[in-house]
């Protein structure tokens, strides 16, 4: 493998890794607020992409994406209010079943609305043939969009959790729910907010990546598995580590194509997931508890 090809694989890996990280952060936000894994997280990504594609028929691209994000956020809020909010300290198993049920519901509804067709937003700048030369590597401008927007999103999230009142309230709730209530914080609203945030993040990710990966009514499931792997790899709840873990998975997958048949690409993440769950359930970035002390 020559050095240029090597970097080409790296770039491809980082692109996918970014998206996996975005999905993983969505998992983490809800996990931190509620202690549950929302298995419908991938569906938020799909919903964002699908809605953006549909709205782009009548709206300019940035507006279509913005509207898709807002609509998906509303769906996130609705789901929380309808299915989660009224439960009083539900068991983990019950939550797993409920969120899987929600994901099936969204998928089937999407199949009903959009059919089986594969869709995509147009490239934000240029087309699928355009590429920018960075050193010896050719990079699609869309890759820069994806990485750039995701990076801004991660930074904004960090600012939100560190400096704003609702951000602090959410961290307080995940640190100690009863103590947060004793400070007069409405813990239920914080859970709703976590669903809204996760839905928005997922939808934005789904929109910006759709030109590269395409989107279909069932593409959320794949992404959910990848995102979940990354979230576990980084240590549940630790969003900064999820970014690193996302890159690792993306690059691993990308290089796997060089040595394994392409069909085995998805096996990689499942294998990693199982391995981590067996060997090091707290994630590769050390103790998740310690990591959570310093990260959002």
């Amino acid at each position: 493998m020559n050095i240029d090809l090597f970097f080409q694989y790296i770039v491809a890996g980082l692109t996918y890794g970014t998206i996996y990280a975005v999905v993983a952060i969505g998992f983490n936000i809800i996990y931190n607020a509620t202690g549950i894994i929302n298995f419908a997280q991938g569906e938020f990504v799909m919903l964002g992409g699908m809605t953006a594609v549909t709205l782009h028929q009548i709206l300019p691209l940035p507006l279509a994406i913005l509207a898709a994000v807002i609509i998906t956020m509303a769906v996130g809020a609705l789901i929380e209010i309808l299915f989660i909010r009224w439960l009083d300290r539900p068991s983990v198993l019950r939550m797993v079943i409920i969120t899987i049920g929600i994901s099936i519901l969204i998928r089937e509804a999407s199949l009903h609305i959009w059919g089986e067709g594969v869709r995509a937003l147009p490239y934000f700048t240029g087309s699928s043939e355009t590429s920018i030369r960075l050193g010896g590597v050719f990079v699609s401008p869309q890759v820069l969009w994806v990485v750039g927007i995701s990076a801004v999103m991660v930074i904004l999230l960090n600012v939100f959790f560190t400096y704003t009142l609702p951000g602090r309230q959410m961290r307080a709730c995940s640190a100690n729910r009863d103590a947060a209530r004793l400070c007069g914080i409405n813990a239920k609203n914080m859970v709703t907010l976590s669903f809204v945030l996760s839905a928005g993040i997922g939808a934005l990710g789904g929109s910006i990546v759709s030109p590269i990966t395409y989107v279909q009514y069932d593409s959320g499931t794949q992404l959910a598995i990848k995102g979940f792997t990354v979230a576990i790899l980084g240590g549940l709840g630790n969003s900064a580590a999820a970014v690193g873990a996302g890159m690792i998975l993306g690059v691993l997958e990308s290089f796997s194509i060089a040595v394994l048949p392409a069909a085995y690409k998805d096996v990689i993440s499942i294998a990693i997931l199982l391995l981590i769950l067996f060997v090091r359930p707290s994630g590769i970035f050390g103790s998740s508890e310690a990591a959570r002390l310093s990260e959002f």
């Binding site: 961290r171 640190a175 004793l182």
Partner: protein
């Protein structure tokens, strides 16, 4: 200020509180003493809405708060310093305090938060030194101070404290009890739950003795201090190891 009548509460099939009746007047320190498992924590949790009562009445400022949410009860001015401190470990000392003032924002009194912050740093200079430190890395005594300060940031009319002396060295206990006295002298109302009966009776105005979910004795603190039953059950055995205030 607080009036509890025939309160019954518990967990699932377990009945813990049985017909508890008590009250706290404005400006008093009232203490509840009782052995492990008597139901002291259960009582405080029920008052602040973390636990639903089964029967009875809880009046705060003459209004029934039995069905209100914890957030609403805190908003109305009834705060709890929970057992075992329960600070927000991954947040800084300052963030903990600001979150304590959460209801002040809702009351539209955000302008006072800065002042209150300085007041707390005056009351607990140790917290000022550790303003930026993560609360989880504080010592037990410092965490207790933080938990108290966080509750006071809400400007409560009544502050309830669940065993603030638990696991602390005598010197720190003395500091904390000194501060509770000072709070009362500044016009605050305190409901204090304690195992350290001697110290608690030493600073309290009135006291209740809770035993297996029932109030079995009540009266002026100094009367209980000299009551033979109380002396035998709660003060007797290790009189010497108790802290002197």
């Amino acid at each position: 200020m607080l009036r509890i009548k025939n309160l019954e509460a518990g967990y699932a099939t377990l009945k813990v509180l049985r017909k508890v009746t008590m009250h706290v007047n404005p400006g008093e320190i009232v203490t509840i003493i009782g052995a492990n498992g008597a139901g002291k924590t259960t009582l405080l949790k029920t008052v602040c809405g973390l636990l639903r009562s089964r029967d009875g009445e809880i009046l705060f400022d003459r209004q029934d708060i039995r069905r209100l949410s914890t957030e609403e009860i805190v908003f109305r001015g009834c705060s709890l310093v929970p057992e075992g401190r329960q600070v927000f470990a991954p947040l800084s000392v300052r963030e903990n305090l600001v979150l304590g003032a959460n209801v002040q924002y809702r009351r539209g009194k955000q302008a006072e938060v800065k002042n209150d912050l300085n007041r707390m740093f005056g009351l607990f200079p140790r917290l000022k030194e550790r303003e930026k430190q993560l609360a989880g890395t504080l010592s037990g005594g410092e965490q207790q101070m933080l938990a108290i300060a966080r509750a006071l940031m809400a400007r409560p009319k009544l502050v309830m404290m669940d065993e603030p002396s638990m696991g602390l060295a005598p010197l720190i206990v003395r500091d904390i009890f000194g501060i509770i006295t000072r709070l009362r002298d500044e016009g605050n109302t305190v409901l204090l739950v304690e195992q350290n009966a001697k110290a608690a009776l030493g600073i309290a105005d009135r006291a209740y003795v809770l035993e297996t979910g029932r109030i079995i004795l009540q009266g002026q603190a100094e009367d209980l201090l000299s009551n033979r039953d109380v002396q035998r059950a709660y003060l007797g055995r290790d009189l010497d190891s108790e802290t002197d205030i």
